[in-house]
Structures are given as C-alpha cells and as structure tokens.
C-alpha cells in the first residue's frame, strides 16, 4: 500500500522529468525577415535545443498539478486573463476539446514562461523561433521556395474553429522539429519586443516619445506573410492574454 502511495506521488514528477524530446538546432548566420534599423545583414544564432513539438495538454496538466499556483482556479489574474485554460473541463480535467495529445493553448505568456523555467529551459527568442521555422524537410533555409511558402500559408487560410491536430504529427524539418507551421501560434520569450511601427522619431510625430532610442521594426520581405502574421499576433498581445490557437514550446541553451 505504501509503495502504491509513493508511486502515486512520484508519477507526476516522473512525467514532468521525462524527456520532452528536445532536438539540437545547430547555430548559424541568419537574416531575419524583420527589418530593424540597427541590424544590417545576418545575425549569429547560437546552437540551441528545441522541443520537437509544442507542449501538450497532458504535459501542462502535469505541470499545474506540480505547481498548483498555475491552476486556472488559483492563478492570480495578473498572470492570466479569463480565458486561461478555460477549454479544460475542470482545473485538472481535460476535455473532448482539449485532449492530452493536443498542444496546450489558452496559456498566458507568464504561465508558458513558468513552465519552461520549471524545466530548466526557457521560451525561444523570436530569432531562434524564426531560424528553426525557416527550415523544411531537407533545407535549413527554405524561405526562397515559393511552393514551400504557399503550403505554409494554406494553414492560415483554415478556420481557427477546426480542432487542433495532435502535437508532433506534422512532418519534421531538417532539425527534427515539428509543428512550427500548421498547428498553433507560439509564444516567444521576447514577444514584447515586437515594436511594430514606422519611424516614430520623426519631428512632429505625436508618437515620437513612445520609444527610447532607435531600432523601430519594419518588414524586409513582404513575401514572408506567414512570419508577418506571427509578428502581428505577438505584437498585439499582453503577457496575461491567451487565445484558443496560441501555445508554446521551450528551448534549452547548449553548454
């Protein structure tokens, strides 16, 4: 009896500790689709490890069992708005619309960050996410391929009301990472760095005091609609927001 109790106590821990399947993304030089005033040409992306698929409902439930302050009935409003996990049947019960194998959505940035912290990981930076997402099954940078871009865009044309596929069911890219396109939107650590604006330091511009310093963002390549939509979404969010199609995955630094 004691052994069973012990096992029952350990089970959530074991599930949390289980390797979520990080794969190595070798670093390289990468030119972001976003155009910043202060960045010319390619940036260096350091090697990192990325979850091969987004975090699932089952995994997130294990997390909130372990860290009950992130249960939807206990989370402080300052960290998560009303929609937080509200597609689950209960605070710890999934539902037909939120199955264990599906990517978790309706999670705030604060909750996603806490999940990755608990893993000894962090949310990917935008540049890392875009770098990994530029790859297809055989190329590290498929962005110039119009057919590839069209395939990605097809997802964006589908209604958001359609049920989410199980996580990890789309084709792996050259790094072994799945679901970067065609499944859910994903939080990035620096979502709030998306300062989308025209040059706001122009004299007479009422917004000119909004930003300190240079570095306003515009877009270098208007062909990359999929990236633009991601940026538009992230730039519109606050940290406590959540949506029915916004999930996340974590990355780890490589020592």
């Amino acid at each position: 009896m004691r052994a069973i109790l012990l096992l029952a106590c350990l089970a959530p821990l074991a599930a949390l500790a289980a390797d979520p399947g990080y794969v190595r993304v070798p670093g390289g030089d990468f030119t972001t689709t976003l155009q910043y005033e202060d960045i010319r040409g390619a940036s260096r992306v350091a090697t990192f490890e990325m979850m091969a698929r987004p975090v699932t409902n089952a995994e997130f439930r294990t997390f909130v069992q372990r860290y009950p302050q992130w249960r939807r009935d206990r989370v402080p409003g300052v960290f998560a708005g009303n929609g937080y996990l509200d597609h689950w049947q209960g605070s710890l019960q999934l539902s037909a619309g939120a199955q264990g194998s599906q990517p978790v959505t309706r999670v705030s940035w604060f909750a996603a960050k806490a999940y990755c912290d608990a893993q000894g990981a962090r949310l990917p930076r935008w540049l890392e996410w875009e770098y990994a997402a530029a790859a297809d099954g055989s190329r590290r940078d498929a962005r110039r391929d119009a057919a590839w871009r069209d395939r990605i865009l097809q997802w964006y044309a589908q209604p958001a009301s359609r049920p989410l596929p199980a996580a990890g069911t789309t084709a792996a890219n050259v790094y072994g990472v799945r679901d970067l396109h065609g499944v859910v939107w994903e939080w990035t650590d620096d979502f709030s760095s998306m300062l989308v604006t025209s040059d706001n330091r122009t004299q007479g511009d009422p917004d000119r005091n909004r930003f300190c310093g240079a570095g306003a963002l515009s877009v270098a390549d208007r062909e990359q609609y999929a990236v633009l939509m991601r940026v538009a979404l992230l730039s519109s969010l606050e940290g406590r927001d959540s949506t029915s199609t916004l999930g996340f995955r974590c990355v780890r630094e490589v020592q």
Binding site: P76, S192, L195, N209, R210, F211, A214
Partner: protein, 188 residues
C-alpha cells in the same frame, strides 16, 4: 468554543488574512527581488502600502529616459505637497548588467531625485521581461547594447494594482493621469 468566540476568531482571521494576502490582480504577486541605488535588496512586494508611479529605464540612455524622469517630476509638481509626500516613484532598470547601484546612485544625484520618494532599482536579469510584461512595457535590446522601449508611466495603488498609465510625456502633465493619482491618494 461558543459561537460568539468562534465568530470573533473568524473575524480576526479575516482581518489578518486581508492584511496578508496580496490581491490577485496586483503586480506584487510577482516574485521579484530588486536592488536599489543604496545597494539595499528587497522584494518588490515590500513596496506595497503606498501608491506609486512606476516605469522602466536604463541609465545610459540619453534621449527619452531623461524625459521620462522629468515627466514624473512634472506630475509631482502638479500635486499639493501633502499629496506628493504620500506618493512613491519606482524606476526599474531594463539593463541590470550595466545599471549597478553606483550607476543608479549617479542618476539619482544628477537628476536630484530624493531617495525618500524615488526608488531606482535593478532587477535580476531574468526578471526584466516579467516586470516589463506586468507593466505593459515593450522593449528590445539593440545590437549595440542599447534598448528600444515604450515610455509609459504606470500608476499603482497601494496594493500594486494598475490604476492608470500615460504615454503623454514632456513639460505638461497629463491631466487625466494627475487626476488618477489624486483619486488614488484620496482613496487611502
């Protein structure tokens, strides 16, 4: 235990509980440790109890950040002395690596910011994004190590709830914001 005694104990518990629990919509729910210009380490939640104007800056900024500080001064000047004395100001660094207590103290001295009202503090690097997200401040580290960030003054009530904010900076105080500060001070 009689019902009356039980009720008394229960009421006491409620009062004590009310004094202890930080409201769920308070940014002081964040587990953040700050270090001020006097090298004093404290939990952000220790600032609970007094309404505050809060924003984020970095001391090596030469253009908008001085404007930010001066804009707070303009708001303070719009208040009566008896109001001003009950309002705190907290400026949190976006650049904790370079904004040492010494750098913060230098800014404090140069700008004439009375430590009795003004707290200049740096967070731990990992908490910068959390603080910015709680305050609704957007920022990005530039390639040269500078920062691009939205300049906004956020008014917190004594419990750490966001009451108002303004992006109208400069020589004239935002009248709506000043009114919100007054109302928050009166409510206490």
């Amino acid at each position: 235990m009689t019902i009356r005694r039980w009720l008394t104990a229960w009421a006491l518990m409620l009062v004590a509980g009310g004094a202890m629990a930080i409201p769920t919509d308070s940014i002081y729910r964040a587990d953040v440790v700050l270090t001020d210009a006097q090298s004093h380490r404290f939990r952000w939640a220790e600032q609970r109890g007094q309404p505050r104007i809060v924003s984020m800056l970095y001391t090596s900024c030469t253009f908008t950040c001085p404007t930010l500080v001066e804009s707070v001064k303009v708001v303070l000047l719009a208040l009566r002395p008896d109001e001003r004395i009950r309002l705190g100001v907290t400026m949190i660094s976006l650049d904790p690596k370079r904004d040492t207590p010494e750098a913060l103290a230098k800014l404090q001295k140069e700008r004439g910011l009375d430590p009795a009202h003004w707290t200049l503090a740096r967070p731990q690097p990992r908490d910068v994004s959390t603080i910015a997200a709680l305050l609704g401040i957007r920022y990005r580290v530039l390639s040269d190590g500078d920062f691009n960030h939205t300049t906004v003054l956020v008014l917190l009530d004594g419990e750490g709830r966001i009451v108002a904010s303004t992006e109208k900076l400069g020589g004239v105080a935002d009248a709506m914001f000043v009114a919100a500060v007054r109302k928050t001070l009166e409510a206490r």
